[in-house]
């Protein structure tokens, strides 16, 4: 379970990127963060994954404070961002082995997990190809596989389907649902309404560093008094966005 309590983040003295965000994500739930560019989604996700430190507030993962239990937290979360470009001269197979060693996963377990995930995500045919020779979708699949190498209870994915074709996107979302059913907590950010609507049990709309609305897609539509979730999002955004 992830708990975010009154988290603030400032990069400079005068500007605050995250302004007192709080939410909780129980086990077996997919939590979506939806918002325009610059709303603070990536900053929030990087804070949850310990890559950034909050200026104030507390983030706990399975009861452990993210500030003090860095390495223990890393064993519990899998973090993926679309910005990641793997070592171009390496292969998915070699990268898996390298990360398995870093996570100190026993060899037998690592091999069986590798086979299973590679099969599920369709990586097996290109597992020995260099990353430089792979398509965007293939690279993203390899990144996802490596993020899940240690079977983390908490998964944080920053736009996991960004830049993927429909088929690969479907494969990834199906796999996320499978992980949810296995009891993993998943936090994902996305720009794609259909993904948010179909995948997320709960969605938080982030505008200018604040969560302005939170609930299921249906509840948010009802709250905004609109027919679709997409319309609800735009209405909530317009009501809460302040031009600077």
């Amino acid at each position: 379970m992830i708990s975010v309590k009154n988290v603030h983040k400032s990069y400079t003295r005068n500007t605050e990127t995250i302004k007192g965000v709080s939410f909780e994500v129980p086990d077996g739930v997919i939590f979506g963060l939806l918002g325009p560019n610059g709303a603070g989604k990536t900053t929030l996700m990087q804070m949850m994954s310990t890559l950034l430190r909050p200026t104030s507030g507390v983030i706990t993962i399975d009861g452990l404070n993210a500030r003090d239990n860095l390495l223990e937290i890393h064993r519990r979360i899998g973090y993926l961002t679309t910005e990641v470009r793997l070592d171009p001269m390496s292969t998915p197979d070699k990268l898996w082995d390298f990360f398995a060693e870093l996570y100190d996963i026993p060899l037998k377990e690592s091999i069986s997990r590798k086979e299973a995930i590679f099969y599920k995500l369709g990586i097996t045919p290109f597992r020995n190809k260099k990353i430089i020779e792979l398509s965007t979708g293939m690279k993203q699949k390899a990144s996802i596989a490596i993020s899940l190498i240690h079977n983390p209870p908490v998964i944080i994915f920053d736009e996991p389907t960004n830049g993927l074709d429909i088929l690969t996107s479907k494969q990834v979302t199906d796999y996320l649902l499978e992980l949810k059913n296995e009891g993993h907590s998943i936090i994902l950010s996305t720009h794609i309404f259909s993904v948010a609507e179909s995948l997320c049990d709960e969605i938080a709309i982030l505008v200018d560093g604040r969560i302005v609305a939170q609930g299921s897609a249906e509840a948010l539509s009802q709250q905004a008094g609109t027919d679709t979730f997409e319309e609800a999002f735009f209405k909530i955004y317009v009501e809460n966005h302040v031009e600077e």
Binding site: Y11, L52, L71, Y79, V84, L86, L102
Partner: protein, 420 residues
Amino acid sequence: MAPRSSFVLAYYAKARVLLSSALIIYNNKMHGIRTIIKWEISRVFSNWQRAAAVFIIPAAVMMAALNIFPYLINYMSTGSVTQKPIIVANAPDSFLDYLDETKGSTIYTYVFMSEDEFITYWKSGDAVKGIENGDITVLFYKDDSTIYIGCNGNSALSMERADSFRSVVLDPYCDDLADDSGSMLEINTFNPITKILDYRTDANYQASRVIPAMLVLLIYYCVYSMMSDMFASERDRGFYDKLLMTPVSPKHIVLGKIISCTILVSGATYMTFLFLFISSWLNRSNSSTSLIPFGLMLLPGQLLAVAIVIPVTAFLCATICLNIIFSIRRMKDVIMNLQMPLIYLMADLFFQMFSGDSGILEFLIPIHGSIALIKAVFRSNFVSWQLVFVLIASILPSMLLLHRTYVKEGYIFDKRKKRS
């Protein structure tokens, strides 16, 4: 008093406990560092271009520089890039026989003249001009059994060359003659050359002007290219974040990468030395300006000092690069700033070319001290305190730079984000 065997057993048991605890700490604490080192080294060897860039190019650059440098010196002193032949006038048959017998032991080339031809050559003024331009002229004056060696007394290089020729060819010839016939030739010169130099020692001396600074320059070049790939490119790609997300401490990730960089660069530098030794053996040269034969003159102790200084210097260079990389966010700026120490090293290279022996305090200047130590080794001035000074001057700043970079974790995490 306990019997001797139980005394030994008690110490053995203690040593075992200590060793096993050390192994546990090593396995637990060093696991991440070990994995990173293994990965970085295998990454270099998995790609032949990368391996060549690390191991072959520096050695090739060094070899090229060392082969070009003597020609440059020749050109500067004589106006000719090639070794000028030795002009030998009125050579007796015994000398020609001696050259035939010892063919291959020297690389000198000769122009032989009879006495009459030499007189004409001398009277025309060409001989004097030639000597001024670096010609070495040898005249066998049979009347008083004297060999005259003509060289430009104002040019140190010309005099060194004449000295070398005397010690390598003429002296052994005279000894040979004395052995054969019992008669002794007296050797005089036009110019007062009183000191007989060992050309190999001299080659070492000449090499000390260039090789140490070149080596350190190459070390920095290799470290710079590796560190920019290991940290700056990986950070730019986001792969570094992926590493930071593993349960390996950021300190261990940084240390693992720096150690692998140090191992690879030291390996590449040792490889350069190996190339030089092979070249030294293949190209035995008698030119006083040749730098090639230096390797054969290094004693094991001196080599050990150089072998210690290389990884220590590489580690220092790596921490300098690390500090630059973590202080600057933009890849373009990182690359530009990483090149800044190269300017300092180039300036040092020129300084070393024209400076004499290094003073005590020079050994305490980071990087410059390493150059000074290798220089002292080549000049046979090396003493162990110099190594101690260099170790202090290298390890202390390395630790300070590492501390500055990663003791505050914010430097690895938040700061780079602030600058983005």
